[in-house]
Every structure is written in C-alpha cells, then in structure tokens.
C-alpha cells in the first residue's frame, strides 16, 4: 500500500515537472514575442503621433489660408470700413486743427493734369518718402498722355491706385478755352466722361472729388449751377491753398521753391502741383521734407474733408 502511494506520488511529480518544463519555454517564447510586439506597437504609435501632428499642422495651415482667403474676399469691405474710420478720424483731427484744439498740421498734396509721361518720376519720389497724394486726372488726348499724343500712359491709372494714391476728377477735356465752361451740361458731361475713364482704366475705382480746371473761380457765373449738379452726383470740389505756380509760366527751380514756401502758411493746406512740370519734379523731395519738418502730416484728399467743398 505504502509502495503504491509513493509510486503514484512520483508519477504526479514527474507529470508536474513535465508540464512545468513545457510551460517555461512557452512562457519565455511569449515573453520575448511580447517584447517584440511592444516595440512594434511603440514604433507604430510614434509614427501615428508624428503623422497626427503633421495632420494637425496641415489643418492649422488650411485654417490659416482659409482665413486669408476670407479676408481677401472681404478686402473691399474691410478697406471700406478702414476708410470710413480713417476719414472720420481725419475729419475730427481737421476740426480740432481748425478750431485751434490741436497743434497738428495737415497737407494734402495734389497733382493736376496727369497722366503725363513724367508722372512715373513723381510717383517714384512719393514712394521714396512713402507719401500718398491725390491725382486730378484728365484725358485731354483721349487714350494718350496729356500733352503727348504719341504716348499711351493709361497704365498709370492702375499705378496710382497700386501705389496707394487717390484718383480724382479733373474732367475729360480740361477744355477751359474749348467749351468746358460753355454750359453746366458741358462741364458735367466732361466730368462723367472722366469718371467712366477712371473706372474703365482701374477696373472700378470710383472717385467723387473734382477740381475745376483753372479752379472753381474759372467757372464764373456757371459755378453755382455746376455745384448744384455736383451735389446731385454726390461730388465735392476742391481748390487749393498753396502752390509753386507750375500751372503758369514758371521759369526756374528757385522760382518754384520760393512760390511754394511763401504759400505754406495754413495749418491745413491743399497744395497744387502739376505732374508735368520739371521744376516741380526738382523741388518735390525738398518740398516733402520741408512740409514734414514743419510738422505736416501728408495725406491724400478724401470727400469728407473740410477742404472738399460740398456747396
């Protein structure tokens, strides 16, 4: 009996040892395999994290470019809002200056009678000083430059806007002695024709400021009738408070400079230049520096300005 028990116990021990011996390599195999799987998983997970980060970056870039596209699509509205705010602020500043509440000074640089074949030189100088001005345009020669039938300067219209200047109306014909002031209708017709010209050449730029060729006084008895029509068209008109005399018989640079400096007396100036005059071209850099030294803020004209008359 005792022997049989011992024999059975031995058998059990042997069986248990066999099972144990089998289990140990299986465990070792699985353990090693799991280590390899873990490493594979970690590597895959790392790839996933990297790719996910790339994906998120790409998504952020897409959001950013979508925002940029939206802002480009809404650019006109944004510009309109900025202009409204700016003009409101300039008007306040102008009022403060004119009421003696502000020591600031404003100078509106204006250039008449372009586009002209020397206009690019004027634009380059303005660019150099980062000054924006207003160009009162005319189309005396139809599709060509003022005063030169052989040169086409129509690209200048886009260039004015591209370089940040404002375009204003100086009538299509500029015909002071050719019937422009023969009637209210002839003036308004020349105004509308130039308005269309500006729109066509710039793909839609709209101006509502006019300068009478020769100044508003040149319209004589027609002035009040023209102004009434301008009001209906939502136009304002502007003369000038300072000039270098380049619209008349200017004979030297020094004469231009003396004329210019002697007329700068007001806190808000509208300065009349012509972008065809070589003497003006010569004094322009000094004129800009002169104004800046005297503390003037140089601005392009805008409809709401006190200097743009509405009646």
């Amino acid at each position: 009996m005792g022997k049989s028990l011992k024999s059975n116990q031995r058998k059990i021990i042997v069986i248990l040892i066999i099972i144990l011996v089998l289990l140990i390599p299986i465990n070792i195999y699985l353990y090693i395999n799991n280590i390899s799987l873990k490493s594979e998983y970690q590597s895959l997970n790392k790839d996933y994290q990297t790719n996910n980060k790339d994906f998120e970056n790409e998504s952020t870039k897409i959001d950013e470019i979508k925002d940029k596209l939206d802002s480009l699509n809404n650019l006109n509205n944004d510009t309109k809002k900025i202009k409204e705010e700016l003009f409101k602020d300039i008007k306040v500043l102008e009022d403060n200056i004119l009421n003696g509440k502000s020591n600031s000074k404003i100078a509106y640089l204006t250039f008449d009678d372009g586009p002209y074949y020397s206009t690019y030189k004027f634009l380059d100088i303005l660019d150099k000083y980062n000054v924006k001005a207003t160009f009162f345009t005319t189309s005396i020669n139809g599709t060509n430059c003022y005063d030169d039938n052989t040169k086409n300067c129509m690209a200048l219209y886009k260039e004015y806007v591209k370089r940040g200047h404002t375009i204003a109306n100086h009538t299509y014909t500029h015909g002071i002695f050719k019937g422009l002031y023969s009637s209210v209708d002839s003036f308004i017709s020349a105004l509308k024709k130039q308005e269309e010209k500006v729109k066509t050449e710039t793909n839609g730029y709209v101006t509502n400021i006019v300068r009478f060729p020769g100044g508003s006084v040149t319209a004589g008895r027609l002035k009040s009738g023209i102004i009434k029509e301008l009001q209906k068209l939502n136009y304002g008109y502007v003369d000038w408070t300072a000039e270098d005399g380049d619209g008349g018989n200017l004979t030297s640079t020094s004469a231009a400079w003396n004329n210019f400096t002697s007329t700068i007396n007001e806190k808000v100036e509208v300065i009349l230049f012509h972008d065809f005059n070589k003497y003006t071209l010569e004094i322009l850099p000094d004129a800009i520096e002169y104004l800046q030294d005297k503390g003037y803020i140089l601005l392009p004209l805008f409809y709401e300005s006190n200097m743009v008359k509405k009646s």
Binding site: I17, N33, Y41, S59, I65, N76, V161
Partner: protein, 89 residues
C-alpha cells in the same frame, strides 16, 4: 514527497499565471497594433487629402492675391494712414 508535490504545484501555478498574463498581453498588443495600423492608415489618408486641399487653397490664394493686387496695396495704404492719424488724435 508531499512537500515536493506542493512546491512543484505552486511553481506550476505561477508558471500558468505568467502564461495567462503573457497571452493576455499578447492579445492586447496585437489588438493595439491592428488598431494603430488602421489609425495610421486613416491619418495618412487624411493628411494626403489635407495636403491636396492646402495646395489647392494656396493656389487659389496666390491667384486671388495677384488679382487683388491693387486692392491689397490700397488697403495697406489706408491702414497705415489710420495708424498715423490715431497717434495724432
């Protein structure tokens, strides 16, 4: 003899437990690997789609930028002037 049987049984139980753990671990890891592979595949696809979308949008943006060159310059001008005037007020 009985003691030996008990010790061997305990060792055997431990080995069986380790085996169970290893098997569970194996299953979890295999499952994780499969799901990560699937996620990776999807994220790669999304990433490729995103890259294509970005390229298209970028092209659209560049074209619009060229088209609106004048408006952009005008916008910048007024924006800068606004800053100058705000400082003076």
């Amino acid at each position: 003899m009985k003691k030996i049987i008990i010790i061997i049984t305990i060792i055997l139980l431990l080995a069986t437990s380790i085996l169970t753990l290893n098997i569970v671990n194996y299953c979890i890891l295999t499952n994780n690997i499969e799901s990560t592979k699937e996620n990776l595949k999807q994220i790669n696809k999304k990433d490729t789609d995103n890259q294509d979308t970005y390229k298209e949008l970028e092209q659209e943006y560049e074209e619009l930028k060229k088209e609106k060159d004048i408006e952009i310059k005008e916008h910048e001008t007024w924006e800068n002037l606004l800053k100058v005037i705000k400082e003076k007020l």
